[in-house]
């Protein structure tokens, strides 16, 4: 396509099309007029006009997590770009592939404190996998190509491209669609055979093997391999928050999420195992607790991660494997000899017993001591189908969902893990619904979180994106209140949200379907009404003001030191 003069903006759009971008979430602005002019000409790309740039970033992130494709968000210079920051940090911390395009003042004005100028390039350096400030339109084909390549390979993440106004406007003759990459970027995806053999031997020789599945399993598309390996070894599987969905939680070998708000059996299994295969997880403090000597103390620890910087970072590892999780699991499976597998082991029985105890607790909706919040999530297990995509806000609602919701398929549980961003779930649901329009999308929200990004109900209504927001309405910043109750002697400092707003009127003001759920038994019909309305919907679910997410590891505690375990059956 050489020989034709294109503007910088047209080059960007041509490259987006070549990358297969079908949707972008953004808000235009003065520094993006040329880009938006070119974007409008591109019928292949659906642009969804958001109401806040943070939501644009979260929507792109949600889209990426559901589809596996790179999400794209767009914001103008200055405040547009700074509003993106939370969303981009969130996506990058959870290794979600997102490309952000930002407008910038003309190159001649950069550094002059021009109107709507912020140094986006400098500000976003520590929160992105990579970023570019493009100063010549000729560089655009290579930059855009590499932005997508870097975002969605290796350990996935965010790449931002800052586009000065004059670079968008200038017309140049360039070769489109280059293949050239950067000499310093070579993701290590092929695992070392010696290491995978060692891992296979350690697992085969273990009496109590356990697999810890992180978000990397889902990102690498390794869920089949994970299941096969677990079944072959008779190993239990526990997940991180990001790994929820890596294996169906109804699978008899799955013990669910481990960690601070994890299931007690998952934590117990971590403490008891003698070989632990950690896949695509960074051992965050929310998983390990703070007493690291209680974390898998007897286990030979095998860690597989595509990012070498994660190996040995938080936990010392016995057998490190740098590479793609899917490839590593295939190799381990190849090395495993039939005769090395123990069948019907004591451990296998124990794992299955712990699984049943857990399932029993979740199925028994009205278990003594259950809170309204527990019951609502347990009800969702019965009402929603396996394909439904759950997104969550952050706090109690998120941990109720992570603990009690039985995720059956990968990419159907979307939550803010690393950054813990209140306000994430709803815009992420928008991205999720755009990625999977045929699936039901439900945001499990808290009243505190939802108010942080609820303005994008307008986006849902205007663009016909019918997501359902289920608000756990306790009029508290619930998780902080819970900590104040448990660890600050009920001194509720600034966690009481008062009585506003009326979420029904709020939903209706935007043109949404809205209904109040006073009792958990009304949830089923309310959800039915919401889905049947075909509109975006807000369900205001009244929960106990002092409901608590339990059990939990208290601050400073280790993985065996959970409190609030009275309701869990001893096994």
């Amino acid at each position: 396509m050489a020989g034709k003069k294109l503007s910088g903006a047209e080059i960007v759009v041509e490259e987006l099309k070549k990358e297969g971008v079908e949707v972008a979430f953004g808000i235009p602005g003065g520094a993006l007029l040329d880009f938006y002019e070119a974007l409008q000409q591109a019928e292949e790309i659906r642009h969804i006009l958001m109401r806040h740039e943070q939501c644009a970033a979260h929507a792109a992130d949600g889209y990426a997590r559901v589809s596996g494709r790179t999400g794209v968000c767009i914001a103008t210079s200055g405040p547009g770009a700074t509003n993106l920051i939370t969303g981009l940090t969130n996506a990058n911390m959870d290794s979600s592939p997102v490309v952000a395009l930002t407008g910038q003042v003309p190159t001649s004005a950069i550094g002059s404190n021009a109107f709507q100028e912020a140094s986006t390039f400098t500000i976003t350096m520590p929160i992105t996998k990579h970023n570019f400030l493009v100063t010549r339109a000729e560089d655009l084909p290579r930059v855009i190509h590499n932005a997508f390549y870097i975002a969605n390979t290796g350990r996935k993440g965010v790449v931002l491209v800052d586009l000065p106004k004059d670079v968008q406007a200038s017309k140049v003759e360039v070769e489109l669609h280059p293949e050239e990459t950067f000499p310093g970027y070579k993701p290590n995806i092929n695992p070392n055979k010696v290491q995978t053999k060692k891992a296979a031997e350690a697992l085969a020789n273990a009496e109590r093997p356990l697999i810890l599945a992180g978000g990397g399993v889902i990102s690498a598309g390794a869920t089949e391999e994970l299941r096969t390996l677990a079944e072959t070894l008779g190993a239990g599987v526990v997940t991180t928050l990001m790994g929820k969905g890596a294996i169906p939680e109804s699978h008899p070998l799955c013990l669910g999420m481990a960690g601070m708000h994890g299931r007690i059996y998952a934590n117990r299994a971590l403490n008891e195992c003698d070989a632990l295969l950690a896949l695509g997880t960074r051992f965050s403090d929310r998983l390990t607790g703070w007493q690291l000597d209680q974390f898998a103390p007897d286990a030979t620890l095998i860690q597989v991660d595509v990012d070498a910087a994660e190996i040995n970072k938080n936990i010392p590892v016995d057998i490190p494997i740098v590479g793609d999780v899917k490839l590593a699991l295939s190799d381990i499976l190849k090395w495993l000899k039939k005769e090395s597998i123990r069948e019907g082991s004591v451990w296998l029985q124990r794992v299955k017993e712990m699984h049943s105890a857990c399932e029993e607790c979740i199925k028994d909706i009205h278990r003594p001591g259950s809170s309204v919040s527990d019951i609502l999530i347990k009800e969702l297990n019965n009402i929603l189908d396996d394909d439904t995509i759950i997104t969550t806000e952050v706090g109690q609602c998120q941990m109720f969902a992570a603990h009690y919701y039985m995720t059956k398929k990968p990419r159907t549980f979307i939550s803010s893990g690393g950054l813990g961003t209140m306000g994430f779930g709803f815009p992420a649901a928008i991205g999720a619904k755009v990625a999977a329009p045929d699936k039901q999308v439900v945001d499990i929200a808290g009243d505190g979180s939802f108010l942080m990004t609820c303005h994008d109900l307008a986006t849902c209504v205007e663009n016909d994106i019918p997501v359902v927001v289920c608000i756990f309405d306790n009029r508290y910043l619930g998780m902080v209140r819970q900590w104040q109750e448990l660890f600050f002697d009920k001194r509720y400092s600034h966690t009481n949200l008062g009585i506003t707003p009326d979420f029904i009127k709020l939903g209706e003001a935007f043109g949404c379907y809205a209904e109040r759920v006073e009792k958990p038994e009304d949830l089923k019909s309310a959800l039915k009404n919401a889905f049947e309305s075909g509109k975006p919907a807000v369900l205001d679910m009244i929960v106990g003001k002092e409901d608590k997410v339990l059990p939990m590891i208290p601050p400073g505690g280790g993985i065996t030191g959970m409190i609030g375990t009275e309701r869990c059956r001893r096994v």
Partner: protein, 159 residues
């Protein structure tokens, strides 16, 4: 804690230095010396970074530096298998003939050059291992150092 010298081969782009130094900043590690210059490959630069860090901190930083897209190579230079040099320029008081003669003799014994001279001071230039420069500076303090400049460490690994 120990002094560590890291050598980086990087793309010569605006922002690379910020990206690199950001890796140390976010860990609260101070860079005690830094040199950046073009190298034998066009379009690439070499950085030599000196930090105080523990073995495990160094390992984490080294891996994260390698993750930077514009960083092509990271080498942890061990003192025994690298040639390490620093360049020092200093202006020393020479108030009288005795001082002047003594400074010139000491400079000669250290292999320092006299880069410039005025009636009451000498500018000395010494390129050497940082420890030898430290010792030379200590000596010159007796005469009075008006100004002192050091480039910071640059280093090359032996084959």
């Amino acid at each position: 804690m120990q002094t560590r010298v890291i050598s980086l081969l990087v793309e010569d782009n605006p922002g690379v230095l910020t990206r690199m130094s950001g890796m140390f900043t976010m860990r609260g590690i101070n860079i005690s010396s830094l040199t950046v210059s073009p190298c034998e490959k066009p379009g690439l630069s070499r950085m030599t970074v000196t930090i105080e860090a523990s073995e495990s901190e160094l390992e984490k930083v080294r891996k994260q530096l390698s993750n930077l897209i514009e960083v092509i190579k990271v080498v942890d230079l061990k003192e025994h298998d690298a040639i390490i040099r620093d360049l020092c320029l200093m202006k020393v008081h020479t108030k009288n003939v005795e001082a002047r003669t003594e400074v010139m003799q000491l400079a000669e014994s250290y292999g320092a050059k006299i880069a410039d001279a005025s009636l009451d001071s000498l500018i000395l230039e010494l390129a050497d291992e940082p420890e030898r420069i430290d010792r030379f500076i200590e000596l010159m303090k007796h005469f009075g150092i008006k100004q002192l400049f050091r480039t910071g460490i640059t280093a090359i690994a032996r084959d």
